[in-house]
C-alpha cells in the first residue's frame, strides 16, 4: 500500500520574513535575514547571544519594528501601516523568557484576558475556553493561583496556555526555558512536544539542543545578524558546514 507523505514544500507558508534589517542606533542587530516557515513546521533558531535571534522573532509580530524588509503572516503584510496590528497579533502566539504573566491576575485570569477583551467572549465562554487551555498544559488545579504562587515551570506553562487559547496560526518561543531551574525545563519542553505533535507551527529560539535534535524539522544557526547556515537537525549537529557553527556547537555541548 502506498503511503502518501506530504511534501513540506507543498504546505502553505505561514510566516514569510524577507530581508529583515533591524538597527538599534549604530548597532545592526539583523542584516538582511530571510525566514519562511511552512504550516506545521518546527523551526529552531540557535546562535550565540547577540546574534539577533530574539530580535528576528520580535520582528515577526512587530514588537520590534524592522528597519527594512517585509513580514507576511498567513499572506498578510504585517508591516503595512494600514492593517490593524492587534487583529494580526492574536494569530501569532508569543512566549517569553521571563514568562511575563500578569501578577495581579490568577492563572485563569491571565489566560482569559485576551479572550474577553480581544475576542470579546463572555466571561463564561472565556472561562471554559481558558480552562481547556490550562488543561492542555496540565494546570487545571492551578487555575485560581496567582503567578507568585507558581513555580517557574508552571508560570511558563500558563504563559503558553495564554497564547494557545487564542488559537494562533503560529507560535513564537523566545528562550522559553532559559529562566528555568534545570529540573523544571522538562515539563515545559513536554508541553511544546505535545504542541508539535498536534501540528502547531512553531519558531523556537532556544539553547535546548537535545530538544532541537529530536523535535525540530529545521535548525537555523545565526551569528552577527546573519543566517550562517540552516538544515535538518542532523545536517547542523552532525555535519555543520561552517567553522562558526562548529565553534558554537562545541562550546554549547561542552557544558
Amino acid at each position: 500500500m502506498l503511503i502518501s507523505i506530504v511534501n513540506p514544500n507543498d504546505r502553505p507558508v505561514v510566516l514569510d520574513a524577507k530581508g529583515i534589517v533591524k538597527t538599534f542606533g549604530q548597532v545592526k542587530a539583523l542584516n538582511g535575514v530571510d525566514l519562511a516557515v511552512t504550516r506545521q513546521e518546527l523551526v529552531f533558531v540557535i546562535g550565540p547571544s547577540g546574534s539577533g535571534k530574539s530580535t528576528l522573532l520580535r520582528c515577526c509580530n512587530r514588537l520590534e519594528e524592522p528597519t527594512a524588509g517585509a513580514v507576511y503572516v498567513d499572506g498578510i503584510d504585517i508591516l503595512n501601516r494600514g492593517i490593524n496590528i492587534n487583529a494580526v497579533r492574536r494569530h501569532i502566539g508569543m512566549v517569553f523568557q521571563s514568562f511575563n504573566l500578569y501578577p495581579h491576575m490568577t492563572a485563569l485570569g491571565n489566560v482569559t484576558l485576551a479572550l474577553r477583551r480581544v475576542l470579546k467572549l463572555s466571561t463564561r465562554d472565556a472561562n471554559s475556553r481558558g480552562m481547556e487551555a490550562l488543561d492542555g498544559v496540565g494546570l487545571t488545579d492551578k487555575a485560581g493561583a496567582y503567578p507568585g504562587e507558581l513555580s517557574g515551570g508552571q508560570q511558563q506553562r500558563v504563559a503558553i496556555a495564554r497564547a494557545l487559547s487564542l488559537e494562533p496560526k503560529i507560535m513564537l518561543f523566545d528562550e522559553p526555558t532559559s529562566a528555568l531551574d534545570p529540573e523544571l525545563v522538562g515539563s515545559v519542553l513536554e508541553v511544546m512536544r505535545r504542541m508539535r505533535n498536534t501540528g502547531m507551527t512553531m519558531v523556537v529560539v532556544s539553547h535546548e539542543m537535545r530538544f532541537a535534535r529530536e523535535a525540530a524539522d529545521r535548525v537555523i544557526f545565526m551569528d552577527e545578524g546573519h543566517i550562517v547556515e540552516e538544515g535538518t537537525p542532523s545536517d547542523i549537529f552532525e555535519a555543520p558546514q561552517h567553522q562558526r557553527t562548529r565553534t558554537f556547537l562545541s562550546a554549547v555541548t561542552q557544558k
Partner: protein
C-alpha cells in the same frame, strides 16, 4: 491660680466649649465636605492626566509637565490667594469654598499625576509586550494590565500625599471659608480664650484619624503576593 487650673481655664473651659461647639461642628462639616471633594476630584484628575501623558503626545505632555510643576512648586496658600483676590480683576469670581476646593484639587492632582506616572513607568516592559502580543490594544493594556499594577505599587505615596494635601484645607481660612480653623479663630477672638483651638484640634483628629486608618487598610489590602 495653680498651673493646672490655668491650663484648664485656657484650653478646656467648659463654658466656652458649650457656647462654641455648634460653630466648630459647622466648621467640621465644611472641612469634611471640602476634604472629600478634593480627594475624589484630585485623584480622578491626577489619574486622567497620567493616562493622557502615557500616550506620549509631545505638545500635550509638555503642557501637562509645565502645569503640574507649577502647582507642585507653588505653596497652596499662594494659589488660593491668587485665585481669590487676583482672578476677580479678570472677571473670574469664585466663592472661598470653590477657590479652596479648586486650588487644593489642582495641587493634589499634580502630585497624583507624578506618582501615577512613576508607577506606570515602573511596570516591567515585558507586561506591555505580553499583553500586546495577545492582541490587546495600547489602551486595553494600559487599563487592564499596567494601571492595576501601577496603582498597587503607588498606594503608599498616594495615600500619604492625599492626607498631606487634604490637611491643607486649614489654610482655606485665608479666603474666608468657614471651616474648622476659621471658626475656631473667630471663637477664640470672641471668647478671649484659647479653648476653641483645642476644640479645633479635636475636630481635625475626628476627620483625619479615620482617614489615616483607612489608608492603612487600603495599603494592606492592595499588597499582593509576588
Amino acid at each position: 491660680m495653680s498651673a493646672l487650673e490655668r491650663i484648664k481655664h485656657n484650653f478646656f473651659d467648659l463654658e466656652v466649649i458649650e457656647k462654641y461647639a455648634p460653630s466648630i461642628i459647622d466648621g467640621l462639616w465644611v472641612t469634611l465636605h471640602l476634604a472629600l471633594f478634593i480627594i475624589v476630584c484630585g485623584l480622578v484628575l491626577g489619574l486622567l492626566l497620567a493616562v493622557v501623558r502615557s500616550f506620549q503626545l509631545r505638545f500635550i505632555n509638555w503642557l501637562i509637565i509645565f502645569v503640574v510643576d507649577i502647582f507642585r512648586a507653588l505653596p497652596p496658600i499662594v494659589i488660593m490667594i491668587v485665585f481669590y483676590f487676583a482672578l476677580p480683576f479678570v472677571g473670574i469670581q469664585m466663592s472661598g469654598f470653590v477657590v479652596a476646593w479648586l486650588s487644593l484639587t489642582l495641587v493634589l492632582a499634580s502630585f497624583v499625576e507624578e506618582i501615577f506616572w512613576a508607577g506606570i513607568l515602573s511596570v516591567d516592559k515585558g507586561q506591555w509586550e505580553a499583553a500586546r502580543s495577545t492582541g490587546l490594544s495600547f489602551f486595553q493594556t494600559l487599563c487592564n494590565v499596567v494601571l492595576p499594577q501601577a496603582i498597587r505599587m503607588t498606594i503608599p505615596p498616594l495615600t500619604n500625599r492625599t492626607i498631606v494635601i487634604t490637611k491643607s484645607t486649614a489654610i482655606a481660612s485665608v479666603v474666608a471659608v468657614p471651616e474648622i480653623l476659621s471658626q475656631a479663630g473667630a471663637a477664640q477672638g470672641f471668647s478671649a480664650n484659647t479653648t476653641p483651638l483645642t476644640m479645633a484640634a479635636i475636630a481635625y483628629l475626628l476627620i483625619f484619624i479615620p482617614l489615616v486608618a483607612m489608608s492603612r487598610v487600603i495599603e494592606s489590602k492592595f499588597a499582593w503576593k509576588r
